[in-house]
């Protein structure tokens, strides 16, 4: 025991008597202590159980290196890790390792475990160097399995929420992109769709359900399919939005907000006639072949909360070489709150459109939004673009 002047350490006699060791022996987490040569000088029963030994004594007697050989050890991305990559070794190399999440497979049985390995140093009182490393292994297999299961369900649901393919529109191109926000919110509320709506007409839909997780996923599916069904029944854009609003109002209370933008594109000679109807959704951007961009549509009430809704059908035109861009608020809201990309930022990006294919334009916007968000999105991103061929229709 080292004592410094003025800081006499009064050691508890119980701890001297090995009570501390008894405490460590009985904690649920596996704990080992190794020296700088890799020799294990202490292990508790939980560590012996985890590493496949009958007793802590058997474990501490095992030769260094032979223990690790019993397992396949990978990081979360599936890259194999060796002993040198373990936090304890890194401590002895003078690094300050973060807790490490590892997937651990017992070679003998194929059993899979997920472990968090934490190592902390015990300095040698004489030299001040690191004499020992204490390893704590936390078994999070259950948590991890649940998380992976949920993620699988989420991905499956997400695929059901978006169309598998977009229809062909003569003399025009359609592209879409979708990017879900962080893994905690796996299923987002953004959706888009494109389908025929009467002769020579197509309906472009983009929308956003406020909320995350399975409930939002359910509402998102309801929104997309209600709009499709309403379209098949021959409803106008306004009627389709009113139908969806009523469907949302019949949901159990919980204020499910939904925004939607409908664009009816009807083929006319040399151009497309557009009818843009907004319900709480940011206005689409129309970009001409020189890159001049403007917003189209008039604000309308979002769906599912307030009665009655008030929406307006606005007429416009998409001429040869022009592009119409629909998006969700994840694009303008990307970034830190005091410097979001903004509607203005998006319009600036659209000015680059003439030099890019439609697919490249969408990809570019998505990339800039992601860069703006510094890899940490608040919300999903969805983009849907319609571009008329440069040569006029006949």
């Amino acid at each position: 025991v080292i004592t410094r002047p003025g800081s006499e350490v009064a050691r508890d006699p119980l701890i001297e008597a090995g009570v501390l060791e008894a405490v460590l022996a009985n904690v649920a987490e596996a704990i080992t202590v190794v020296d700088s040569h890799g020799h294990m000088v202490f292990a508790n029963q939980a560590a012996a159980d985890l590493l496949g030994f009958a007793t802590p004594d058997e474990l501490t007697r095992a030769r260094p290196g032979t223990i690790m050989a019993r397992f396949i050890v990978e990081d979360e991305q599936g890259r194999e890790l060796d002993l040198e990559g373990m936090p304890a070794r890194r401590l002895f190399r003078g690094e300050r390792p973060e807790p490490l999440l590892v997937r651990n497979i017992v070679r003998a049985t194929g059993e899979e475990r997920w472990l968090i390995v934490r190592s902390s140093p015990i300095p040698d009182p004489e030299t001040g160097r690191i004499g020992y490393a204490v390893n704590v292994f936390e078994n999070i297999t259950e948590v991890k399995r649940a998380q992976l299961g949920e993620r699988f369900i989420a991905h499956t649901l997400q695929r059901a929420l978006l169309p598998e393919s977009l229809p062909e529109v003569p003399h025009a191109e359609i592209e879409a992109r979708y990017c879900a926000a962080g893994e905690l919110n796996e299923v987002g509320g953004d959706f888009y769709d494109v389908f025929e709506h009467g002769d020579d007409s197509w309906m472009l839909v983009i929308g956003d359900v406020c909320g995350k997780g399975s409930r939002a996923a359910g509402v998102t599916a309801l929104a997309r399919h209600t709009l499709r069904a309403a379209s098949m029944g021959g409803q106008s854009s306004t009627e389709m939005l009113e139908t969806l609003h009523r469907a949302l109002r019949r949901q159990p209370p919980g204020a499910d907000l939904c925004t939607a933008c409908l664009v009816l594109a009807k083929r006319a000679s040399g151009r497309m006639r557009l009818t843009v109807t907004l319900a709480g959704h940011p206005p689409p951007v129309l970009i001409d072949p020189r890159g001049e961009a403007r917003q189209v549509g008039r604000p309308g009430t979002l769906l599912g909360v307030l009665d009655p809704i008030d929406v307006a059908e606005c007429e416009d035109e998409l001429r040869a070489g022009e592009t119409l861009l629909l998006y969700t608020d994840g694009i303008p809201e990307a970034g830190h709150s005091d410097e979001v990309l903004g509607e203005r930022g998006l319009i600036e990006l659209c000015r680059k459109a003439p030099g890019l294919t439609l697919a490249q334009l969408l990809e570019h916007i998505e990339r800039v939004a992601l860069e703006h968000a510094e890899g940490s999105l608040r919300d999903d991103l969805a983009l849907l673009g319609l571009r008329m061929s440069p040569s006029p229709l006949r």
């Binding site: 905690l184 406020c210 925004t259 604000p299 979002l302 509607e343 968000a373």
Partner: protein
């Protein structure tokens, strides 16, 4: 999640109303805080509820959802809800959402409700 300036809420009783002054960001993280204030007994007991949004730097759809939930709740309970206009970003979001006509806006937290 990008963590911005955390939302703080000041609650004070004025002559005829309760005023909730919001500072910071009314986003996914701040929204639940406002929600629980709105559902508190003090707010329930007031005849007039004012949300002072003038110092809200940023609002997103989660924030909007709570403001609308407050609107619905106060209507159901026979209370009056009023908001101060807030920053251009807040106003733009309400405008896009098409809800400005449903919400009662007053120039400042102690202005009269017409």
């Amino acid at each position: 999640v990008i963590v911005g300036e955390q939302l703080t809420i000041e609650v004070r009783q004025e002559r005829d109303r309760i005023v909730l002054t919001l500072h910071g960001e009314l986003d996914l993280l701040g929204a639940p805080r406002l929600q629980s204030e709105i559902e508190s007994n003090t707010v329930d007991a007031a005849e007039i509820v004012v949300l002072d949004l003038d110092d809200v730097q940023f609002i997103d759809s989660a924030g909007l959802r709570v403001v609308l939930a407050a609107h619905v709740r106060t209507v159901e309970r026979g209370q009056k809800l009023a908001l101060t206009p807030g920053s251009p970003q807040v106003q733009r979001l309400f405008s896009i959402a098409g809800v400005s006509g449903h919400l009662h806006t007053i120039a400042s937290a102690n202005a009269a409700l017409v």
